[in-house]
């Protein structure tokens, strides 16, 4: 299943947030979305997942999601959004409980996703007992448990320290290499964008328009070895972002 954003615009009251955003997320690819603060990245993601309706344009699913996908468009939130009163297993179980699954099948899915996110030993821990990185791995496990056709990630690593971020990025790349998933990945961090993206979409300041689309053809798994080309890419993205960020800053100061 591919996702196509067809001329999506959105406004909140009189504020135009997104203007004619048009791109495609191809199956098995990670599309990174970057842009200055307040340009509408989170809004865009909410539109894609159906948590809000666009003022104009449409978000289209091209093709059917896989039959075994229990929740085709699945979010991973910046603040993890774990229920503090449920254990790790309980948090994963939450999103399976509304599906017809017998006890054994549900437990098997939970075991599988906890193993894939290296959380098997922490099934009975409560969120407050976990570090930030582990909490986000629980959220990733929860997302994987519903077999998403497309993951929608809104700055999934920005609440974490930089070491944890590196480790989790490696985890994500490993997960993808074993079983390629489709994802829209919103981030502020250009390093994450060039490490994880097959395509990087640079949005302008508000109202967010597509400023540039950068394709990165390097295979994900080999990227950590290609420091030089990644850095050149990052430099290029930063130059694009810099003007927008500066201008956005100026506007806020004037407002």
């Amino acid at each position: 299943m591919d996702l196509h954003l067809s001329h999506v615009s959105h406004r909140y009251g009189g504020v135009e947030v997104l203007d004619d955003v048009d791109f495609t997320v191809a199956q098995g690819h990670i599309v990174c979305i970057i842009g200055p603060s307040g340009c509408g990245k989170s809004t865009l993601l909410r539109l894609i997942g159906g948590l809000e309706k666009p003022s104009a344009g449409a978000v289209l699913q091209l093709g059917e999601p896989p039959a075994d996908s229990r929740n085709p468009l699945t979010y991973i939130f910046q603040d993890f959004a774990l229920l503090p009163w449920r254990t790790v297993r309980g948090n994963v179980s939450l999103v399976l409980e509304d599906h017809v699954l017998d006890q054994g099948a549900r437990a098997a899915i939970i075991d599988d996703v906890l193993r894939r996110t290296k959380l098997s030993e922490f099934g009975d821990a409560f969120p407050r007992q976990l570090s930030g990185g582990m909490k986000q791995r629980v959220a990733i496990a929860r997302a994987l448990s519903v077999n998403p056709a497309c993951l929608l990630m809104d700055e999934p690593l920005s609440a974490l320290d930089s070491q944890t971020r590196e480790l989790l990025m490696d985890d994500l790349i490993e997960l993808w290499s074993r079983e390629p998933f489709t994802a829209c990945y919103v981030t502020h961090n250009l390093g994450e964008a060039v490490r994880l993206g097959h395509k990087v979409i640079v949005l302008s300041r508000r109202p967010g328009r597509i400023r540039e689309v950068v394709d990165i053809d390097l295979p994900l798994a080999g990227r950590s070895a290609e420091r030089a080309s990644l850095e050149a890419l990052q430099e290029r993205l930063w130059r694009l972002m810099r003007e927008e960020a500066l201008a956005a800053d100026q506007e806020l100061a004037d407002a």
Binding site: T74, D79, L83, P84, L94
Partner: protein, 268 residues
Amino acid sequence: MPEGPVPQARSVAFRGGGFAPRPVGIVGPIVFVTLLLLWELGSRTGWISALILPAPSAALGALEDLYRSGLLFKHLGASLERLVLGWCLGTLAGIGVGISAGLFSLARAGVVPLVSAIFPIPKIALLPLFIIWFGIGEASKVATIFFGVFFPTVIAVTGGIDNVDRGLVRMGQSFGLRWSSVVRKIILPGALPAILSGFRITASIAIILLVAAEMIGAEFGVGAYILMAGNLMATDQLIAGVAILSALGLGVGWLIGRAERFLLRWRG
């Protein structure tokens, strides 16, 4: 190396700490016992006249008489029955109405102004009305407690639901959870801490109203006992009755504390 004399080493003054009360279990009982002892001492030496305030030992004696006569459990039983009935009914109704007001705009628009208008009325002032409506028997007493408990429960439940993290609700929706699952598994557990602290308040209100209601036409009940003692100027019995109420309050508080510790154990 800088030149000159070696600077003197001084440890940095500590200025953190405080503002973090921790439980010191033994202090409460010590204060309590000391006060009782001073009071007893004052009475024995005649410094406190027995007419003004009977000695704790006299109150204890009155309690013992009450127990011997077998009336203690009759009074206590009658009171507990009204308390439990009124509190449970009021709490159930309050939770039901509070949940609807927390979830549905229409219910909220109807209920919230009504609650704001009626909550501040002291229910004791309405007691004569309740007696006219429900008779002089049990029903009017239970109704007083019911109304006293109902309104604060509605407020606690509605407020608790309002304070549930909407991010968690969006998360539930984004995973396609059914509406009923979002309510049962996200909103209600999220509102539970506020609901339980509401219970503490409503339990105290229920005890206060219980006594007030029992002072009007009750044969048995702790309130009736206290009223009788007051009318006879039997201050030792009066103090004994007040001690029973205090113990009742402590017991209820303890029960709610246990419930909190069990239901909110995820807070650690």
